[in-house]
Structures are given as C-alpha cells and as structure tokens.
C-alpha cells in the first residue's frame, strides 16, 4: 500500500513534470491519432491537444506536405526526424521517431518538442553580432586574432586577413606563419615584446611593421591580452590589430608641420605673439622678447597684464596703445595695423589678425616689425629729395640757406655753412633751433683739409663735412647736434651725402655762371668784331668814294691812298685772326717747322711798328743775347711777336717798351716789357682766353683774340707764355721756347 501510495505520488509528480515541461511529448498510433500527450505545448496549440485527436486536427490541415504531418509519416517508416518548427511565435526543436510495440512491430510515432525560442534568439544575436563585428572590423580596418598556445592555432579575423593582403582563410594559422610576415627589421623587437607580454600576462600593446603579400609595408598597432592558467603559464593570446600606416604618416606630417611652424616662427625677423581670446599669452618667439626687451624670466611668469604694462611703458603714447589693444580684444574678428613710436626713438609696425581653427576664432596673432632703420632711411631719403630739389636752384646761396633751414632740427640744432673764396673761409649762414642761438661752431681745421669729422664742443656732439668741388674744398657744412644726441658714422655719411649734393649745386651754379659769361663774352665779341670791322670798312668806303667823285684834292691823294692801304691791312689782320680762331677751335692749327732766329723775327716785326710807335709816343729798345735759334714756325712766331708788340704799344701809355731776346742752354726767352696800364690780378687769367680782354672795348679796340692766339701758337711750338703785371706799373710778357722740337 505504502509502495502503491508512493507510486501514485511518483506518477503524480511525473505527470506534473510532463505537464509543466516547456514543450511536449506525445505518442500516436499508426494512423497518427494521439495516444498520449503531455507538456505545456499541448495546451498552447490551437485546440487543446489530447488523446484521440489526430495530428492533422492539431496542425489544422491534412496537407501531406505539412512538415509535421510529413515528419510523422517519415518516422512511421523508421526515419527519425529532427527539425525546428515555429508554433505561435515560439520555436521548438522537434524530434519524431518510430514507436515500437512489445513485439517490435510499428505501433506508431513518439515525438518530443522542446521550446528553443530563447536559445534560438541568443544564437541569432550571436550570429548578428559576429556579422556586425566583422563589418566593424572591415570598416575600422581592425582585425582580431586568437592564439591558442597549446594547439598553436592562430585564428585571424577576415579583416586581419585583408590587412595582411590575404583572402579570408588564406593564413596558415600558426605563430611561425605570423612571424614570417613581420618586417625583418622589426622582427627581433616584435618577438621580444611578445615574450615580455607572455611572461607578464595581461594586456599588452605593440606596434610593428608587416610586409603584405603585395610587398607593401604597413604599420600595425596591436592591443592584446594574455590569458594564464592557474600555474601562471600563458595559454591563450587574443587581441586586435589596427592598420595605423596612414595615421602614422599623418602624425609624421603633423610633426613635420609643427616643427616647420616652430622653426619658421623662430626664424622670422618679426616678433610674434599669440594670445587667446582673453588676451592670455599662448605662444611667442624669441624675437618678440628681444624687440620688446622682455627678459626670459619675465616672459616665463606669463602675467599678461604685467607684460602689457611693461610694453606700454616703453611707448610715447601708452594710453593709446593700451586702449587700442583692449579694443581689439573685444572685437576678435578684426584685423589691425598700426605704427608704434617708442620713447627711445624706435618705430615698430604692429599687425594683428584673428587666429582661427576652422571658422572659429580662438585668439589673435600679433606681429611686430622693427622699422626704425627703414623709417630713418625713408625720412633721410625724403630729406635728401627735398634738399636736392632746393639745391637744383642756380641761385646757390639762397638754396644753401633753405637747405640749412631744412636740416634744423632734422640733423642738428645748429647748421652753419662756410664758403671758401680766394682761399679764405667766409661764414655764409648759421641756422639755429630756438634756444640754441648762442651756439656758433668754429670752422674745424680738418674739414678745411677735406676730411669729414665728428667732434665735441662741450657736451654737444658736432660734425663737419667739406663741400668738395672738383677735388678741392670749396666750403663746409657744420652741425651741432641736439642735446644728448651723439653723431655716429651713419650720421656723418648722411651729412657727406648732403654735402656732396650741396657741392654739386655750388659747382652747377658756377658752371652756369661760366656758361652765361661765355655767352656774354661771345655776344660781346660779335659786337666788338662788328664795330672793329666797321671802322676800316667805313674808311676804305669813304676814301674810295672821295677819290671816285673828285672830292680829294690832289695834295691829299697820297694820304688817302695810305689810309686805304693801312685799313686794308687792318681788315686782313681781322680776317686772319678770325680764321686762326676757327683753326684753333677745330684743332686745325698746323705748323711749318724750320730753323728760325727769334732775334731776327723781333727786329723784322719791330720795323713794321714805326708809325704806330710814333703815334703812341713809346720808344722801343731791343736787346739780344746768346743764339736764339730753334726749330719753330717763322710765320706763326712773327704773329706772336707782332701781337705782343702791338699790345705793348696799345697799353704802354707812350712810355718806353723794352724787348729782350736771350738764349741760354738751348732755351730762348723773349720778354716784352711795357710801363703802361698793367693788368688787374683778377683779369690775368682771362686775357689768354678767347674773347677775353683786360680792358673795355670802348677804351681799346681789337678783337680780343691776340693773346689767345699767341698762347696757342707758343704752346703748339712746345713753349710757355707767362705774364707778370701790376696795374699802373706795367706788364711783362715772357715766352720760353726750346731750341729743339719739344712736342
């Protein structure tokens, strides 16, 4: 009983188990009529399944192709059926087999169904996540691996295959196969890193190059994990690999760009400062510190306001600088350009532009350029341009005055200009800045010797530069510097440039004056020539007409004929002189050399002056000594002697004229001495110039060519002409000729 009660209890429990099992178990007869059925599924299928119902009834169809029906039929025939099937949104694993009776005959089917919905969902999830992983690996170029050390099986993901340039599954799957693909250069290091990781266990990171099948070298970044067994022995290594070749290149490029930027910032001549939006210093170069005279120590404190104050203190207008700077910080998008003037005279150009990352403004870049020298050069160039314009005037003294006014206070507080006339310096002007009128520089001795010089008067720095015209000192410019200003080599050079231009102006004015004088002399010459020629022509004209018309009494006829002859000679002489002038000016004066006795030439010439001497009242004495003979041109020499004699008679005021010819050691000297009006010293040079004459044409006639022609002839014969003269005492003309041709 007790056993029976136990059995009943056990059966109840079994039934309960069957009833509640997540699935079903059932048997059918050979006609597929359910004979037994139990399990939760039985209650879940359409009409509740119970013994006596047919399988067709349960599946709701008699269609033999229905899988449930078909599988039951196949199981009846002895083929075990195992498949998955969905009932009412749940999946079941179904097994149907032949059911045998006690006599081993076919009794029907036995089937079992297990709810596998959850397992199936898990499996699907796994499959999906594997696919996702593969896709992610493909997209991210991340490959994964697993190395089972005991079996030495190295499994690569598809993407890792692709990273190595292989088709999925192509890799041999061994550790050695893997090492064979590591770049030989990295092989030892890679092995070392791996052994290290295996020894330590846990996560590791490595980076090495591999050689792909196509020969290309790629860089792989690996993060792995070593699993150890309970004895601390590595059993498994898993990990991921990234192809970081592009990344590495990008990083290298970035590093190159950064280093280039760094080098550029330091190499530029401009001072650079980068600040953030609030004006905090984020970067500067050494040049910036140097320009602003900021010590490295002060810069390292990074106290932005203190730096700004320190900078502004150096400027002429700190307030404007600070307000301008702060204004810009409140307008980050603005660019700016301004010029900063320092108390010590330096000038900076300041430029700033927003610093952007993409579209976003993150700060401001300032650049500072020291343009002091450029500004100085510019101002000097402008000054020189102005000075040159002023000096282009031919009225040189007012021009120098204007330049001196222009140079105060640009060059100094005082500018003095001296000009040299007749060897004596003459102070042309002194221009002083207000308050310095008492300063008047002495002319420094070395500047008169042609040397530029910097010197001091008391506490003041001075400089003096000569005005050099045609290699000789024509004057000087002297500057007294402003208080505290010390002249240097550059200042002196600048003053020299100014002096050169001033000297050029002095020279130009002189040339202009000379040109004007030459023009005037030519005009005068033409007037004189006309006058001088008109005289004899008038005489000849009147004389001939008088003779023709019987206006000349017979007694006067010889005198009139004499006049005609004399005037004819005068005209011939004029023409000769004009022709000689033309020859000289076109370099066509030629000589016929022969043996000539100068004493004879003088005597012959003197004979021709008989009547002139009589008219003038002068006496003429001739003395000779030695043998005044040489290879000369008789005709031309006669011209010279005639010229000197006629001048002596003309200007001799009727007083005695002495002519002396003497020869000593082959040098023949001719002296013609009168005691007449003499020549003023300032005219001495002019008398030998064409059209030059020491006297007014009103007082003394003649073309004024005589001495010029005489000098040209004597020099052409290799000799020299000299004159010594004193007004109202007389003149002595001396000619020296060598006996031999001396050309």
């Amino acid at each position: 009983m007790i056993r029976s009660a136990r059995r009943i209890e056990r059966d109840r429990q079994v039934r309960m188990v069957f009833r509640q099992m997540p699935g079903a178990i059932w048997t059918t007869d050979r006609d597929l009529i359910l004979t037994q059925v139990a399990g939760r599924l039985a209650g879940n299928v359409g009409p509740r399944a119970r013994s006596g119902m047919s399988v067709c009834e349960i599946v709701g169809t008699t269609d033999p192709t229905n899988p449930i029906i078909a599988c039951h039929r196949a199981a009846l025939l002895g083929e075990s059926q195992s498949f998955e099937y969905q009932f009412f949104n749940r999946w079941y694993a179904i097994l149907i087999e032949q059911l045998k009776d006690a006599g081993h005959g076919v009794a029907g089917c036995i089937g079992a169904a297990f709810d596998i919905t959850e397992q199936r969902a898990t499996k699907e999830k796994l499959t999906r996540s594997e696919a996702l992983l593969a896709q992610a690996q493909r997209v991210a170029h991340v490959g994964s691996f697993e190395w089972d050390m005991a079996s030495n099986v190295l499994t690569w993901s598809d993407e890792l295959h692709r990273i190595y340039g292989l088709e999925p599954g192509q890799f041999s799957g061994t550790y050695e196969g893997y090492l064979g693909r590591v770049d030989p250069e990295d092989l030892e290091r890679t092995k070392g890193a791996l052994f290290d990781a295996l020894r330590k266990g846990g996560p590791f990171i490595d980076e090495h190059r591999i050689v792909r099948t196509d020969g290309k070298i790629r860089v792989l970044h690996t993060r792995g994990d070593v699993t150890m067994d309970e004895h601390g022995r590595p059993t498994r290594v898993t990990g991921c690999c990234w192809d970081v070749t592009e990344l590495k290149e990008a990083m290298a490029n970035l590093e190159r760009a950064r280093s280039l930027l760094e080098a550029t910032i330091e190499a530029t001549a401009d001072g650079l400062l980068v600040v953030d939006l609030s004006g905090k210093v984020s970067k500067y170069n050494q040049r910036f510190l140097l320009l602003w005279r900021i010590s490295a120590e002060r810069a390292s404190q990074r106290d932005d306001e203190a730096l700004l104050a320190y900078a502004s203190d150096q400027l002429e207008d700190p307030a404007a600088f600070l307000s301008g700077t702060h204004d810009l910080y409140s307008h980050p998008e603005r660019e700016s350009f301004d010029v900063l003037h320092f108390k010590d005279g330096r000038v900076f150009e300041r430029y700033s532009t927003p610093q952007r990352i993409g579209e976003q403004i993150v700060g401001r870049v300032w650049s500072f350029r020291d343009v002091t020298e450029r500004e100085k050069l510019l101002r000097r160039a402008l000054f020189l341009a102005d000075a040159t314009r002023l000096l282009s005037s031919l009225d040189v003294e007012p021009a120098l005055d204007s330049v001196a006014r222009l140079s105060v206070p640009f060059i100094g507080d005082v500018c003095a200009i001296d000009l040299l006339g007749n060897g004596q310096p003459r102070r042309l002007l002194v221009v002083s800045r207000e308050g310095t009128e008492s300063l008047s520089p002495e002319l420094h001795s070395s500047v008169m010797a042609g040397h530029s010089t910097i010197y001091s008067i008391g506490t003041r720095s001075c400089m003096a530069v000569p005005l050099v015209v045609k290699g000789s000192v024509a004057g000087a410019i002297t500057f007294i510097g402003a208080r505290k200003r010390r002249y240097n080599e550059h200042d002196l050079e600048f003053a020299e440039t100014l002096a050169r231009r001033a000297a050029l102006s002095v020279e130009n004015a002189r040339l202009y004056r000379e040109a004007q004088e030459a023009l005037q002399a030519r005009d005068e010459f033409l007037a004189i020539a006309a006058h001088e020629i008109r005289g004899p022509i008038t005489s000849v004209h009147l004389a001939v007409q008088g003779l023709q018309r019987g206006k000349v009494p017979a007694t006067a006829t010889p005198r009139v004929l004499d006049i005609i002859e004399r005037e004819d000679q005068r005209l011939a002489r004029f023409v000769d002189e004009l022709l000689d002038l033309g020859r000289i000016q076109s370099n066509q004066m030629f000589f016929k050399f022969e043996e000539v006795n100068l004493g004879e030439v003088v005597r012959d010439a003197a004979n021709g002056f008989g009547s002139d001497l009589t008219r003038s009242g002068s006496s003429l004495s001739i003395t000779t000594a030695g043998r005044p003979v040489g290879q000369w041109d008789r005709f031309r020499l006669e011209q010279v002697v005639v010229n000197l004699l006629s001048n002596a008679i003309k200007f001799g005021e009727g007083k005695p004229i002495e002519v002396n010819v003497h020869e000593h050691e082959g040098i023949t000297t001719l002296k013609v001495k009168d005691q007449g009006i003499g020549i003023p010293p300032e005219m001495i040079e002019r008398i030998f110039q064409p059209f030059g004459r020491g006297v007014s044409v009103r007082n003394y006639g003649g073309l004024g060519l005589g001495l010029f022609i005489a000098k040209t002839i004597v020099e052409g014969l290799g000799g020299v002409v000299r004159v010594e003269s004193q007004p109202k005492v007389g003149s002595t003309f001396t000619i020296e000729l060598s006996a031999k041709r001396n050309l």
Binding site: H531, T538, G546, V560, R698
Partner: protein, 133 residues
C-alpha cells in the same frame, strides 16, 4: 642855318676816319677841328671852341659820345647841331633820347655825309660861288 666861319668838330677815335672826313670837308671849304674822344672834345669846348657843327662817334675811350652829348646839352652850347656817326645801329634807336640833330650809320656814303653837313652849315665854297654869281 649857319654859314659862319666857325669850325666843324669831328669827334672820332679812329684816326683814319677823322682824317678822311677832314680832307673832304676842307675840300668843301669848311674849317675842321678833330678830337680823339669825348673828353678831348669836351676839353676843347670848355677851352672856348664854339663849333658850328659836331660830327660825333658814339663808341670811344675815356668819354663816349653819349656822355659827351649829355654834357654838351646841359651847358651853354646846347644849341649846336650834332650829327651822330656811329657803327652801332641799335644806338640809332636811342638817338631820339640823345637829342641828336641827325643820325648817320657807318659805313656812310660820302654824299650822304656832305649833304647832312650842308643842312646845318653852308659850304663856304658854294656860298662864295653864289655870292660871286
């Protein structure tokens, strides 16, 4: 018109011109005095010479014709006729200011010169002929 026996004064620094004109005028019966420049002429006038006519060159040493004429015009002899005989054509333009009676340009025609002289002083020979006639 003067026909006195007062001399004609020739002022010219050119000896030959002075001498030629003297020859021609003397052949006409005039009395002729010569002066080598303005100063010479002025000194002669100052020492009492009262010429009937003055033939005056302009460009001369010491005292030129213009200076001489100015002096002459400002003294008691301001009425004496003066014929300027000059090579300087531009001086002719100034001659109106010089208060000259006549202006002749060198080189001058002999008839032009003699006619000009006759306009101011009768030729003594012609006058004599007329008187006799």
């Amino acid at each position: 018109m003067n026909s006195t026996n007062a001399p004609i004064l020739i002022v010219d620094d050119d000896d030959d011109i002075r001498e030629l004109i003297k020859v021609f005028l003397e052949a006409e019966g005039y009395r002729v005095n010569g002066a080598t420049d303005g100063l010479d002429a002025w000194e002669q006038v100052q020492s009492g010479l009262q010429p009937s006519l003055i033939l005056l060159d302009l460009m001369m040493p010491r005292m030129d014709g213009e200076q001489f004429l100015k002096k002459l015009r400002s003294c008691h002899l301001s009425e004496i006729p003066v014929i300027i005989l000059s090579g300087n054509i531009s001086a002719k333009e100034k001659s109106s200011g010089l208060k000259a009676s006549c202006f002749l340009t060198k080189p001058v025609e002999i008839d032009e010169l003699l006619n000009a002289v006759r306009r101011f002083v009768h030729s003594p020979i012609e006058s004599g002929l007329r008187k006799r006639g």
